[in-house]
């Protein structure tokens, strides 16, 4: 039995929110990341993430395969955040509208900058991607989910996830070339 399975069994048996807290602490970052990538607003993302965990507690008994909890809770998060986004009609950010001041015109080539700087820059660039691309990139790289997992979470087909993943990578590449003067790529 995995840690998650034991935790979930304990929560269902005791019906205790205190027991559920351990599970919340384990997955709060993953759920919050999905919410913030879609909603682009911290307060709203936290509110939705809280609702996700509350719904998760209520529906935990209906989850048959406890090993599927991460995908299951992320699917709830994805659906809830998309619903909230539809309600709020958040404007989509276009690559062409990216605020150049966010990452300025950097002098040092990307490959030569420090890891911390590269991480910081990529975080900013991911947040400037289309919400769906940002979510897929976050799930794939930041949360180490497979293409199949992402397909389960988002409800897209596996081939659609793959296409979107490549598109997102290319968008990232394009944005980096804009950020770094010396990396003008003739190939693009």
């Amino acid at each position: 039995m995995t840690d998650d399975q034991l935790l979930i069994k304990n929560i269902i048996d005791s019906n205790s929110p205190r027991a559920y807290r351990a599970l919340v602490e384990k997955y709060e970052r993953s759920v919050f990341t999905v919410c913030i990538k879609i909603l682009r607003n911290r307060e709203e993302a936290e509110e939705v993430a809280q609702d996700v965990f509350i719904k998760g507690f209520k529906l935990l008994k209906t989850l048959k395969d406890h090993t599927k909890f991460p995908n299951w809770i992320l699917k709830i998060a994805y659906t809830k955040a998309i619903d909230r986004k539809r309600l709020k009609q958040i404007k989509k950010t276009d690559i062409s509208q990216v605020n150049e001041a966010v990452y300025q015109q950097l002098e040092t080539p990307f490959v030569l900058t420090s890891l911390e700087n590269r991480k910081e820059l990529l975080t900013k660039i991911i947040n400037k991607l289309d919400t769906q691309e940002a979510t897929i990139i976050s799930l794939y790289y930041l949360q180490d989910r497979s293409v199949k997992d992402i397909s389960e979470i988002t409800g897209m087909t596996i081939s659609n996830v793959k296409v979107k993943l490549y598109r997102a990578r290319n968008s990232l590449r394009l944005m980096i070339s804009r950020a770094f003067k010396h990396e003008i790529n003739d190939l693009l």
């Binding site: 929110p17 205190r18 559920y20 807290r21 919340v24 602490e25 709060e28 970052r29 993953s30 919050f32 990341t33 913030i36 990538k37 993302a45 936290e46 993430a49 809280q50 965990f53 509350i54 507690f57 990307f110 490959v111 890891l115 590269r118 991480k119 990529l122 975080t123 991911i126 990139i137 976050s138 790289y141 930041l142 949360q143 180490d144 490549y166 990578r169 290319n170 990232l172 590449r173 980096i176 990396e183 790529n185 003739d186 190939l187 693009l188």
Partner: protein, 157 residues
Amino acid sequence: MKHIDSNTLWHYLVGDTSPDQTLLVKKHLANCKDCMREFELLSQIESTLYKVDEDTPSFGFSEAVTLKVENEMTSKRKHIFSAKFLPYMILCGFVLAILSTIIASIGLDIDLSYAESVLNTETALLILIICSLLWGFYFIDKICKKFFNPMHYDQSY
């Protein structure tokens, strides 16, 4: 020399190319500095992406969730004793009182005159009137809240 496009390089990098394509890209990269530079950049992006941190919610997030779940559970328990259920509880109490009197009278072999006296038309009517009034108050209260205080219902959103 024709360069390899970024998309193919990405495919090659993540191991999503056919054996023939892989061989072609490998050969090309060995002879083309520009493509090699691009490939190194893509590799760097790919490896950095795995190290980018997830977003973190505010401190106390899990505690807030726990409290909200606890509050919901408590309000659910309170709801059972709310005005909506009061008429049902009165009716149940009435039926239980009669049933227990009948059972006791059978078991203890005593006469049913007490049960009969409780179960007369006037008492039944009185119980019905009380229940109808309680239901009436409950629904009037709900309608008033909905039309005169809409925020009350928007809090969950």
